[in-house]
């Protein structure tokens, strides 16, 4: 396995793209999000200066793709799969109930910053649908009644 050094700040990320190409934009945004958990306004300005692209273009790209978040997420990221297999097994009710339980909607963060709900389309774990994924841990074959206990595990 290749051991790549994880960049510690935005300057280091930008330094990894010495050619300053337009096609580097999405990889840079991906690296920034990995570093910060989201894409901050400052980061957009820095990238804009580096690639010599208007901030509006960068904002345009960042908002087009579902992957990019423009607000910092909470401590725990709860991803609810809304793919077809999960839908057929009742993921709509799961999401509804999760939203009600936490008092927020998808793509929002609770006031205490404990949870962020995110909706994703298919995590490739369709065989154990319906699936939610909290901080990278999969929880499959779920029923709405299982949710409170799962949420409790994440302080």
């Amino acid at each position: 396995m290749k051991l790549k050094e994880t960049p510690q700040n935005i300057e280091e990320i930008l330094g990894n793209y010495p050619q300053k190409l337009r096609s580097d934009l999405i990889p840079i945004l991906q690296d920034v999000q990995e570093l910060q958990g989201y894409i901050s306004q400052d980061a957009i300005k820095q990238i804009s200066g580096y690639l010599d692209l208007p901030t509006s273009k960068i904002f345009g790209v960042a908002t087009f793709y579902n992957q990019f978040r423009l607000n910092p997420p909470g401590r725990h990221l709860v991803q609810v799969c809304r793919g077809t297999a999960c839908h057929v097994k009742g993921s709509a009710k799961l999401l509804e109930s999760l939203e009600r339980e936490l008092g927020i909607k998808a793509a929002q963060t609770t006031k205490d910053r404990r949870y962020t709900i995110e909706v994703v389309a298919c995590m490739g774990a369709c065989s154990i649908a319906p699936v939610i994924c909290v901080d990278g841990n999969y929880h499959g074959r779920l029923d709405v009644k299982d949710l409170p206990a799962i949420l409790e595990q994440y302080e």
Partner: protein, 642 residues
């Protein structure tokens, strides 16, 4: 990275059959199914359990992480190959089972009480009595593995092992002996058609790009796999990445390209990691980069991670995305084969399409063309999910029937329910009812019944599914994923979603005007769907209405039930379900009353509570809240409101 001479010579010797690859024959080898699906089922913790059991028993063994064999229903799956014995597959290996496997089988050679699924055929070992051969068990019997032949069997990142299974050998030969024209000719002869959805003949596409006079051309692998409910490409890349790369290199040689990209979803970290490792080893072996195998052919490969937009699976949008722009499709022609990435001739094929290429050259184009039907050759990989007994990944010859896949391979509908429909082709496909289950799986037949091959997601629905809800689900997906460039798709899908949302919402709390619109919408739906189909810019919009049209065609009665009787026969559509409290079970704790968002529940503490039907919005919050299962869905006989 660059070439590592020692490694290069080692690989070269393997390719020329001067040496062979073999695994240590004197100690146990343990294969853990560690694809994303396996890991989601707990394969990592089973592996830990195996390791610690080996350690405490003082056993020296080799542990290898393999991809997914496809039988996801019974994961985690672990195989054990003891010296002198065939490879044995165990299913549902949780931590305690893992420990038992080590102590009972590896240490003492007994299979007593273990979850034994099957054994592999092995020329060098006596079969174990009483254990079925893996190809004979129901799930695998009707399958035909070409693309998936190595998935879940070999160490996905070992170049040596891939070569030992025939990998890169025919490629090495064609690089030295074939002309690019002959390669294309063979692909044409094989009859291979694109597996990414459209079914365009692969050889033709390569021909278009090959005749372009341009010193610079590109080969792109489409691994965006945005179709929700499909995970074939992920499994292939996780379980056998070299195969896809070999296919891409063959394409590069055929069209005269010197560089390639794999555009892969960022949601597939394991597939990306395996690809990176494979590319790294190929570079060291001199099989990627300049002057491959000391010929004039040079080919460089890069990975581009997608950023989560369904439309980026469309080829022109994908190109825009690689270029760092918003992934919006453009009008074709010019086709990418003429003007693609940065204006250079580019071919784009799906993962599975490339994965077929090495097999075509290994078995010969004529033999490949013998598999399948007149117009659709070879096999197709399907991801089976939904309400069936055996979820998983299967590869079947073209021409098999849907009934065989669903009822033989997948074991039929789970929980003894009745079959209702199968959704094939994802958001661009359609739902196929019982009466068409016997059509053969090929590109043309599927189109005839209003569906399409698509990329290979098969989601099976039982009698409890609501087909209007399914149509609404897909429209919701498409409407969110529409890139917004052309009006028919941007506005049209939104209107269609509105109409479907009204149908699937109870009219109980609607004003007269809204009720009128609810009816009006239905009248328009067919016409609107048709005009989106006729006028949208790219495939996303052109096929967006398919789920609606196909459900409308086969399940009209369900639409009518929703519209005229305000009732969801499946009891799924929120607001069209009534709930009632079972007096005997209610303890009067009042939790439901607190959770009800519309104050529809009344009752005193410690006394039975009641739901006021007129107030109830049918959200089901009480049902979830109740700790005593006292709130129940009323499925039949909901009072008609209209």
């Amino acid at each position: 990275m660059g070439v590592n001479t020692e490694y290069k010579n080692h690989i070269k010797a393997l390719l020329e059959n001067n040496t062979t690859f073999s695994r240590s024959a004197d100690k146990p080898v343990i294969f853990v199914g560690a694809g994303t699906c396996g890991l989601a089922c707990g394969a990592a913790s089973s592996e830990e359990a195996i390791k610690s059991a080996l350690e405490s028993n003082g056993i020296d063994a080799e542990i290898i992480d393999v991809g997914c064999v496809g039988y996801c229903e019974v994961e985690p799956i672990v195989d054990v190959k003891l010296p002198g014995k065939p490879r044995v597959t165990f299913f549902q290996v949780d931590n305690s089972q893992a420990k038992q496997i080590v102590e009972t089988y590896i240490k003492n050679g007994s299979l007593e009480g273990l979850n034994v699924l099957a054994q592999y055929k092995d020329e060098t070992a006596e079969p174990i009595e009483g254990v079925e051969e893996i190809n004979q068990i129901t799930f695998f019997k009707k399958q035909m593995k070409i693309v998936l032949e190595n998935c879940g069997v070999i160490n996905p990142t070992s170049l040596e092992e891939y070569i030992s299974r025939g990998g890169f050998k025919s490629f090495a030969r064609l690089l030295k002996e074939y002309t690019p024209e002959r390669v294309i000719d063979d692909v044409l002869k094989s009859g291979l058609r694109g597996r990414g959805g459209g079914g365009f003949p692969t050889g033709k596409k390569w021909q278009f790009a090959a005749v372009q006079k341009n010193p610079h051309k590109y080969v792109i692998c489409n691994a965006d796999e945005g179709d929700p409910g499909a995970f074939m490409d992920r499994s292939v890349l996780e379980g056998d990445p070299y195969r896809v790369i070999e296919g891409m290199m063959t394409a590069g040689f055929a069209i005269g390209a010197d560089a390639g990209y794999v555009y892969i979803r960022a949601e597939y970290p394991l597939a990306i990691a395996h690809l990176e490792e494979a590319m790294d080893k190929l570079e060291q072996a001199g099989l990627l980069g300049d002057n491959i195998l000391d010929t004039d052919f040079s080919f460089k490969l890069k990975i581009k991670k997608g950023a989560g937009a369904f439309v980026c699976g469309e080829e022109t949008a994908l190109i825009a995305s690689i270029e760092g722009k918003r992934g919006m499709p453009r009008y074709r022609p010019p086709y990418p084969a003429v003007s693609g990435l940065w204006g250079y001739p580019t071919i784009i094929n799906n993962v599975e399409t490339y994965a077929n290429i090495p097999s075509i050259f290994r078995m010969g184009a004529e033999n490949f063309a013998k598999i399948g039907t007149a117009g659709s050759k070879g096999t197709k990989v399907f991801a089976l999910s939904g309400n069936i007994k055996n979820n998983g990944l299967v590869e079947v010859p073209m021409g098999i029937t849907l009934r065989e896949i669903i009822f033989d391979i997948a074991g039929g509908i789970a929980k003894e329910k009745k079959y209702k429909a199968v959704q094939i082709g994802g958001p661009s496909g359609g739902c196929i009812p019982e009466q068409h289950l016997d059509i053969s799986i090929d590109y043309e037949s599927l189109k005839q019944v209003g569906a399409m091959m698509g990329s290979g997601g098969l989601v099976v629905m039982d009698e409890d599914a609501c087909m209007v809800d399914v149509a609404r689900y897909f429209m919701d997906f498409i409407q969110k994923e529409s890139c917004g460039k052309c009006i028919p798709c941007r506005e049209g899908t939104k209107r269609l979603l509105e109409i479907l949302t009204r149908i699937t919402t109870s009219a109980k709390f609607m004003s007269e005007m809204e009720r009128l619109e609810r009816f009006g919408g239905i009248v328009y739906m067919n016409r609107l769907a048709q005009s989106i189909k006729d006028t949208a810019l790219c495939g996303l919009g052109q096929t967006a209405a398919n789920p609606v049209l196909s459900t409308l065609k086969y399940f009209k009665d369900e639409y009518e039930e929703h519209i005229y009787n305000n009732r969801c026969p499946a009891g799924l559509c929120s607001g069209m379900t009534d709930y009632k409290i079972i007096a005997e079970k209610c303890r009067g704790c009042g939790l439901c009353k607190i959770k009800c968002p519309n104050n529809a529940i009344v009752g005193e503490r410690k006394h039975v509570h009641y739901i006021i039907a007129d107030r109830c919005i049918g959200c089901g919050a009480c049902h979830v809240a109740c700790k005593f299962d006292a709130v129940e869905q009323v499925k039949e006989g909901v009072a008609s409101e209209n």
